[in-house]
């Protein structure tokens, strides 16, 4: 009897622990899966003052566990802080000060789970609008569920082109699609060649530019590689390695050997944080030094966790396509203030992911404000008509990502979204493309120096602001 009591107690403890983080498998405790992963926190931040004040519900699905967990957490932090700001400033004014309630779910970085969470938001939580899901592989099927339930869906993070190219009138995307990301990177490579005519001449003399594509094998990485290849082909560049990698590697020495053998001028990789760390360390250990650099299409390379796990020497000179204007905190006081608040609350200054979560939540709120009702069709129509400019965001703080404007085309794609190409120089992010986000006084370091013995020895800690020359 005593043993049974112990067992029951232990089982209870296990179930409570699992439910607390929303990871109870359905087979074990189906009821617990329906609990929003951050419901407690969300409710705490969005409690209404009186029963008469209407409540607007926004559903969020982020990868809070799995390979993209650190990234999803930053999206979620941004979205919840944006909602806090609105609620603290009187809520939705066109709805009599309606307070916003956030319902946050964990996609577990899984397409099935993400889709099921969106279905729950539509059918059980009855949210007015949904924002999610970062990973393209999750966003693609999850947005289809929102379309089926005629619920406005704002895609944030997912870049797979087809997310907004299926004729879905309920699906909108604030951030870049994959073809925009690739275009920005290729433009960046062009700028590097212009900055170093000698390198350009050497590349030409060797028969033209060569590149290696190394990427996680789901929608995001594959789409990026496919589009890069299509565009590079048009420029006459040669692909010397096309290497899809299953996510979750504990060693990438095998991939490093292949890259070394292929000897490309440019390496383009797309990995989430865990693989990005392992890959970057493998490149450094094997002293792989392509003359035009290692280029990453965001993902793990935009994650603060990546820079805690890698040493400055390992990421020095690397190029990253950041999905926001990295100069925002230096350009706008209001963005600097949000960055300080973020540090005080979450222990890090704003990142691309925080800014994206914030901006997506603000876009959802702006649409509801414009609709003046929580009727879904009215909110959808408000998104169709939405047109916000960065220069008008001094009070609304909507575009923390620094896009010049947010306006959706007939497919639901924000055609003004843009990122920044940065290079790590002495451990500091130096923006150089587009010009609006360029760090004054700097140009890309090309060709990449062969200085493995001393690399990173004078680097400043990650997050250090560049000294504007």
């Amino acid at each position: 009897m005593q043993t049974r009591k112990h067992l029951r107690l232990l089982t209870l403890v296990i179930v409570v622990l699992m439910a607390a983080t929303g990871c109870v498998p359905q087979t074990v405790a189906p009821a617990a899966t329906e609990a929003p992963t951050q419901a407690a926190a969300a409710t705490e931040t969005t409690t209404t003052d009186s029963a008469d004040v209407p409540v607007v519900k926004i559903g969020f699905v982020w990868p809070l566990t799995g390979n993209s967990a650190t990234i999803g957490q930053q999206h979620s932090d941004g979205a919840l802080m944006a909602i806090e700001e609105i609620n603290a400033n009187g809520g939705i004014k066109s709805m009599g000060g309606a307070k916003i309630e956030a319902v946050v779910y964990d996609s577990e970085t899984s397409p099935d789970v993400g889709s099921s969470r969106v279905e729950t938001l539509c059918t059980k939580d009855n949210v007015d609008i949904i924002v999610g899901c970062y990973n393209s592989a999750v966003t693609f099927p999850a947005s289809e569920v929102a379309q089926r339930y005629s619920t406005p869906f704002i895609s944030m993070g997912g870049v797979k082109n087809e997310i907004t190219e299926r004729g879905y009138e309920w699906v909108f995307r604030v951030n870049n699609k994959a073809s925009y990301d690739v275009a920005e990177m290729l433009k960046g490579v062009d700028l590097c060649l212009q900055a170093s005519p000698d390198t350009a001449a050497a590349v030409e003399a060797d028969g033209g530019l060569t590149y290696a594509l190394v990427y996680e094998s789901t929608d995001w990485g594959s789409d990026n590689a496919r589009i890069w290849k299509e565009e590079a082909d048009k420029r006459g560049w040669t692909c010397v390695l096309d290497e899809p990698v299953t996510s979750g590697q504990s060693d990438m020495s095998a991939q490093a050997i292949k890259i070394k053998k292929a000897n490309p001028d440019v390496i383009n990789f797309s990995f989430y944080t865990n693989d990005a760390i392992v890959f970057t360390k493998a490149l450094f250990a094997n002293k792989i030094n392509p003359r035009l650099g290692v280029w990453s299409v965001g993902g793990g390379s935009q994650d603060a966790a990546f820079y805690k796990a890698c040493s400055p020497a390992e990421y020095e000179y690397s190029f990253v396509q950041e999905d926001w204007n990295v100069s925002m905190p230096y350009l706008y006081d209001w963005a600097a203030k949000i960055s300080e608040d973020c540090y005080a609350k979450n222990g890090y200054y704003i990142t691309s992911f925080f800014a994206q979560g914030w901006t997506a939540a603000k876009v959802a709120i702006a649409a509801i404000e414009a609709a003046g009702t929580n009727d879904k069709e009215a909110i959808r129509q408000a998104l169709v008509n939405l047109d916000v400019k960065l220069e008008d965001c001094a009070d609304s703080h909507i575009i923390l990502t620094g896009y010049p404007e947010i306006k959706f085309d007939q497919d639901g794609q924000n055609t003004f979204s843009s990122g920044t190409i940065i290079q790590y120089q002495n451990g500091v992010q130096i923006g150089f493309s587009p010009l609006s986000a360029a760090t004054p006084g700097y140009s890309p370091i090309i060709p990449i120096p062969d200085d493995f013995a001393t690399r990173g020895s004078t680097s400043k800690p990650w997050g250090t602001a560049p000294e504007v020359k």
Binding site: T3, R4, H6, L7, L10, T11, V13, I14, V15, L17, M18, A20, T21, C23, V24, P25, V28, L64, T65, G66, A69, T70, G72, Q73, S217, D242, E243, P244, V245, T246, G248, Q249, S250, D251, S253, A254, Q255, I257, K258, K261, T273, N274, I277, V278, A285, N286, K287, A305, F306, K308, A309, S311
Partner: protein, 300 residues
């Protein structure tokens, strides 16, 4: 091409040794108790966090931390067996082997530990920047360059040290005699006066202590994160089945095969296809030799 394959082979052997080191504990636990411990990966993760805390708070290198963490994990393993597994085994009264309830309870424990650490530490990737993790073994002969962290070499060697220690305990000590007796026939062992459940707890403790040692080696070159266990836990199962359930040399051999197939395979096909190869190998083994390469029907 030969250079690439040779390099890949060396990297594969190193990585395979580390896989084997992690899988050893799982194999011992199964061999003795017939319990497939789905919390194995979570225990590995737990040990890496203990090493992380020891390093960040007291500056203790994980290799030294083994002296502190291994006894703790041994006791944790014993407690898991005593308070979670044994009650279920008693309830089953030996009528079934490896009942579903045992799988579920270890699975649940694994989830609980992972999520508890996610709640405490968040999802950040942490590293332990020790001297071994930052120093490299480099062999450069002409164009041939082999370079790897010393910590990966130590992880490889650890597989053999852990394997030998477990083999010695099981085959050369009085305790080992009891473990082997219980492994072969627990009812007969009980008749001979062996405390079956206490022996199970000791074996479970040994298996978890082994993974704690492997955790120290892993934390020297890999990151520390609450979900690290998922990756290595899953691989450990495949390795143990490939090498032979309950077989100590089988776990190391299985690890080496996995490491080599992943690394060398990737030189001829894409990395994602190479990862698939290991699963195909696993399935083939299940068909042609369900007991694994060096399996003895699951006994240690």
């Amino acid at each position: 091409m030969l250079d690439s394959v040779l390099l890949a082979l060396i990297y594969g052997i190193l990585q395979g040794g580390a896989y084997g080191a992690i899988a050893l504990g799982l194999s011992v636990i199964f061999g003795v108790t017939r319990v497939t411990n789905f919390a194995h990966g979570a225990m590995l993760m737990l040990s890496t966090f203990l090493y992380y805390e020891l390093f960040t708070r007291f500056g203790i290198d994980p290799y030294i931390g083994i002296l502190l963490v291994t006894p703790v994990l041994y006791l944790l393993g014993m407690a898991t067996q005593k308070f979670l597994i044994t009650p279920l085994l008693k309830k089953e009264r030996g009528t079934t082997q490896d009942p579903a309830s045992l799988l579920l309870i270890t699975l649940g424990l694994g989830y609980a530990i992972s999520n508890l650490f996610m709640m405490i530490y968040g999802s950040d990737y942490k590293t332990i920047p020790t001297a071994a993790s930052r120093s490299y073994l480099t062999v450069e002969i002409g164009d041939f360059l082999f370079t790897t962290q010393w910590s990966r070499v130590i992880a490889f060697l650890a597989a053999f040290i852990i394997g030998f220690a477990l083999w010695f305990i099981i085959n050369k000590t009085e305790l080992g005699k009891k473990i082997r007796a219980v492994s072969q026939n627990r009812d007969a062992a009980a008749i001979c006066g062996v405390d079956v459940y206490k022996t199970y707890a000791v074996a479970f403790g040994l298996g978890i202590a082994a993974v704690a040692v492997a955790g120290a080696c892993l934390s020297e070159y890999y990151f520390v994160q609450p979900q690290v266990g998922t990756l290595f836990g899953t691989k450990s199962f495949l390795i143990v089945v490939l090498g032979g359930l309950g077989s100590i040399p089988g776990a190391i051999l299985g690890g080496l095969i996995f490491g080599i197939v992943e690394s060398v395979g990737a030189q001829f096909i894409t990395s994602s296809a190479s990862s698939m190869l290991t699963f195909i190998l696993f399935m083939i083994m299940l068909f042609i030799r369900p007991s694994g390469l060096l399996g003895k029907g699951g006994k240690v």
